[in-house]
Symmetry: C2
Subunit: 114 residues, 2 copies
């Protein structure tokens, strides 16, 4: 047998009460809402339906016990959306948590399997 | 809403050619084969059938291109099994890779969400 080229893979997420609150995908959605000011646009960028994105947000808020997004006048789809202060804080903290983590895991893997 | 107590979760594994070669579960099986000298006993300790464990080993070897376990005289179930030198080396390297990783992720999470 010839050893094949291996690589480390990882997945990181946050739970509360045994339920998934956030992972890279959900936080990317949140980041895009922050950038575009619209759930519709953020969902579209991810190839996701508005309904699906809305469900994600509801689940994150309920499971985490944090109000993350507020929708503005014009209705859910018309008036846009923005992150609450807590939503921005959560996004910032999650980014700090994720920053450099994949690189650390990769480095540790390479060191062990060099 | 009252923010709930959150915790970081993670999963780490090794792939080759887009297929999973090893993760904590499979490596624990390998470790137990090393300790017990028997696939049957190692599988039993994990509440797994011999057939299931054997399938795991075959997949790991094929996907990784490494001969990990050799079975001894007496047949697959009768004579016991032991890790090859490459199998021991792989187990040792995987342990070095995993060592402290969960703690690092937890620490990084706590720092970001303190």
């Amino acid at each position: 047998m010839r050893p094949k080229r291996m690589q480390a893979k990882s997945k990181v997420w946050i739970e509360a009460g045994g339920e998934v609150v956030a992972g890279d995908g959900k936080m990317d959605l949140l980041k895009r809402i922050d950038e575009t000011g619209s759930i519709q646009k953020a969902a579209g960028q991810k190839g996701m339906s508005y309904r699906h994105a809305w469900g994600f947000l509801q689940a994150m808020e309920k499971r985490g016990g944090i109000k993350l997004v507020e929708t503005r006048i014009g209705g859910r789809e018309g008036g846009g959306a923005r992150l609450t202060a807590q939503g921005k804080d959560f996004l910032r903290r999650y980014s700090a948590f994720r920053e450099g983590l994949d690189e650390y895991i990769e480095k540790k893997f390479k060191k062990a399997f060099k």
